[in-house]
């Protein structure tokens, strides 16, 4: 096992019960693991299953530890390390508010088009852009907006799924 830090995208299927999210978060804080992103939503109302997507980082040994620790929680059905089990897609959605006028406003709109961000709200002094993509793409866009009157950012965190026919 290498001592290099790597990023891992882990998906966890859990029983949709009170306390499970607190248990997962407590596990990360209590054992000193990183959480770079965490999303959770019900995905199967019939079976009462929710999916938690966690982006974390650490050495291979730490990431294996995180998976084992998650897997032994009573309400956990499955733990999948998407970044290890083959190709996967990971996306997040960001809402980016930019307050500006004049040339900056034109430039913001032009960049938004280049990044395929949609305008979902506009006033004479502001835009709210909606943008979906991987984390790097959102980061890049937000960085560009910084010089053009970036006022506020709201991001969902990462949702991820394996490519092809594979399921978890």
């Amino acid at each position: 096992m290498t001592q290099e830090q790597r990023s891992a995208t882990i998906s966890v299927l859990v029983e949709n019960e009170a306390g499970i999210l607190a248990r997962v978060i407590g596990l990360f804080t209590g054992r000193g693991y990183n959480i770079d992103s965490l999303t959770v939503a019900a995905v199967d109302p019939v079976r009462n299953v929710s999916r938690i997507n966690i982006v974390t980082s650490g050495t291979d040994m730490v990431i294996e530890q995180i998976k084992a620790q998650l897997d032994r929680l009573v309400q956990v059905y499955r733990v999948a390390d998407l970044s290890k089990q083959g190709p996967h897609v990971a996306r997040e959605l960001g809402l980016i508010k930019v307050v500006c006028t004049g040339a900056e406003r034109v430039e913001a709109l032009r960049l938004a088009e280049a990044f395929r961000a949609r305008v979902i709200d506009a006033t004479l002094e502001s835009f709210v852009f909606e943008m979906t993509g991987n984390t790097d793409k959102l980061d890049a866009f937000i960085e560009l907006m910084r010089g053009l009157g970036l006022a506020e950012v709201s991001r969902t965190g990462v949702a991820a799924i394996a490519r092809g026919t594979a399921t978890i």
Partner: protein, 609 residues
């Protein structure tokens, strides 16, 4: 509407508290350790009206949990605790974490304010599921009567399955009063929690091949073997005898392999034997069964057993590769794994390298020849008692008793020097006879644990080997002993200091004994008497045997105040942060502790303490 309702009322329905007791009874519960309070009064009312389950009234909720741990550890059953909301629950937290760290199966029932008051800062309200989340294996808040019986059954399943642990059920008062349907324990597997118990055949084959290739092997066992039941200890003995490999044990695993057997090296780790630690350091193949490479065992990680291939058997996959990377992980129940190894052994290719192993034993015998547990007891009349000698005599005399009458001895301890001396000098030949707080190191554990053991084994001799500091942490339980006529013996090695703290201060802090001396100890003889027990005292070596024999003969709670050498230190010792081969031996070996420093000690080690 009326039709549905009438169908519901024909269901097996009763007030929640009654349904709770019925579920407990169906789970085989015989005894509950508890303390009443407002939120759990409906349960106490239901207990009053039945005879199937016995309730033991403790004097502090922490003691209820430790008593249940003693009961569970000595029987292999799930221990049950009942406490009220708020302070009842928070007092139980130390015991819960203790049980979590040492993998003891418990179900702890906590009272809660009625559901409509939750979150309102009501009287004696605490966020019990929030507080106990990191202190329990799992917890539940029952919000609907219809979930009650199901949750109780599930809690017992979770507590005893996989790596055992404590499970909390938080019970709002209205759920206990309102109607609840009874459901039996489910026969289908749990929907999400199904720990792997059967080992993978491929991993077993790899393990056997590696073991057969060993020239300097060791078998290192832990509490997992005890938790897998007495049959696992039997299987371990068969494996060790078949292979002829040396065997060592963690603090939690003592008794799984007989202490007196020549194949046993004694306990390993910080205060383990010289030979056990050097074998761990020098081995080429290590088989770890049910132990978790705890920091008290490994010493400095990057110097731990540097040249060995490691096989790790554990029922908890998260224990594998946590601290120490291993070559052959085997997930499964210790009993099944040992049996699988035995079954695969004869047909697997390869033969043991007997000459190499004989040479290994020759080396081990040399290390043994150092006699690392040697101490000198002055036998002249009036001489001060060495604590090691006190434990050794206690062992010898209880062993005589066993030979003569067949009466079993169960030992519990508090935490500190006396605990280590008990582990070193009291030889355990059978599993489930040794109750100690290993992972959490909870002072105050021993007396209530012994109480729980005595409840489970009314005819056995239950002794708490204690220190005078630890025993004061749950001394109120003497009152419980009196109420239930439990003849528990408290054997205090009284050196007037928090001995382990004093030892570390001598070693690491320049002999500045900051706050480790207890200036106003009680008179333990009078204290025993005030709690309706008997107090005995031995001040010199000539008084010791008589006191021990009297203690055993008296069929009542006894406190023995054994006044021992105040300055005695616990050896051998691997200072925190040092590797196994840098051990400090006792003064008998000419390397007594120097003030302010020891070989191999680093700032990192200081931080590890």
């Amino acid at each position: 509407m009326s039709q549905n309702t009438s169908a519901d009322t024909t269901l097996d329905t009763a007030p929640g508290a009654e349904i709770l007791l019925r579920a407990l009874k169906d789970q085989g519960v015989e005894v509950i350790f508890g303390y009443p309070g407002g939120a759990v009064l409906p349960i106490y009312d239901a207990i009053f009206n039945q005879n199937a389950i016995r309730h033991i009234l403790v004097r502090h909720e922490q003691a209820a949990v430790h008593a249940a741990e003693g009961y569970a550890r000595s029987t292999g059953k799930v221990g049950v605790v009942l406490v009220t909301s708020g302070p009842g629950a928070t007092n139980a937290v130390t015991g819960l974490l203790d049980a979590l760290m040492d993998s003891i199966p418990l179900v702890c029932l906590t009272g809660q304010v009625p559901t409509h008051l939750i979150g309102n800062d009501a009287f004696q309200e605490a966020d019990t599921t929030g507080i106990t989340r990191p202190a329990s294996k799992h917890n539940y808040l029952v919000k609907r009567g219809q979930d009650l019986a199901k949750v109780v059954h599930e809690a017992f399943y979770v507590a005893r399955s996989g790596r055992p642990g404590p499970v909390v059920i938080d019970l709002p008062k209205d759920i206990l009063i309102g109607p609840a349907p009874y459901v039996a324990a489910p026969e289908t597997p749990h929907r999400s929690y199904r720990p792997q118990v059967e080992p993978d055949a491929g991993q077993i084959a790899k393990a056997v091949a590696l073991l057969k290739s060993a020239k300097r092997p060791v078998i290192y066992t832990g509490g997992g073997v005890i938790n897998a039941g007495p049959a696992a200890s039997e299987a371990l003995r068969a494996l060790v005898r078949k292979t002829g490999f040396p065997c060592t044990s963690t603090l939690m695993g003592l008794g799984a392999f007989p202490a007196g057997d020549p194949l046993f090296l004694g306990m390993l780790g910080m205060h383990g034997t010289y030979e056990a630690n050097l074998v761990m350091h020098g081995c080429d193949v290590m088989l770890n069964i049910g132990a978790r490479f705890d920091d008290r065992v490994t010493g400095r990680l990057n110097a731990f057993s540097p040249g060995s291939k490691k096989i790790h058997v554990d029922i908890d996959p998260s224990s594998i590769n946590k601290n120490v990377p291993v070559d052959v992980p085997v997930v499964g129940d210790a009993l099944r794994v040992i049996r699988a190894i035995l079954a695969a052994w004869d047909d697997a290719p390869g033969e043991l390298d007997k000459p190499a192993i004989a040479a290994w034993w020759k080396q081990i015998d040399e290390w043994r020849g150092i006699d690392c547990l040697k101490f000198r007891q002055d036998m002249t009349k009036g001489a001060v008692i060495k604590p090691q000698y006190a434990v050794q005599r206690l062992y010898d005399i209880t062993r005589e008793l066993k030979a003569k009458t067949g009466r079993e001895t169960f030992i519990s301890t508090e935490v500190g020097q006396h605990q280590m001396w008990a582990a070193q000098y009291f030889g355990f030949d059978a599993p489930n006879r040794w109750m100690t707080s290993g992972g959490l190191g909870t002072m105050g554990y021993g007396l209530p644990a012994a109480m729980g053991v005595q409840i489970a084994h009314p005819d056995a001799l239950c002794i708490d080997i204690a220190g005078e500091a630890s025993i004061l942490m749950n001394i109120q339980e003497m009152s419980t002993l009196a109420q239930y006529r439990l003849p528990v013996k408290v054997f205090i090695l009284n050196n007037q200091y928090m001995g382990m703290v004093r030892q570390w201060q001598e070693l690491l802090h320049g002999g500045r004994y900051s706050e480790s001396y207890t200036a106003a100890l009680p008179d333990f003889v009078k204290l025993a008497e005030s709690f309706h027990g008997v107090g005995l005292r031995a001040k010199s070596v000539d008084e010791l045997d008589d006191v021990i024999r009297q203690m055993i003969e008296i069929d009542r709670p006894v406190i023995c105040d054994i006044c021992v050498d105040e300055k005695e230190n616990c050896f051998p010792m691997i200072p925190s942060g040092a590797p196994h081969n840098e051990m400090i031996l006792g003064p008998e070996h000419g390397t007594s502790l120097q003030m302010g420093g020891a070989k191999g000690l680093t700032d990192e080690g200081l931080a590890l303490v």
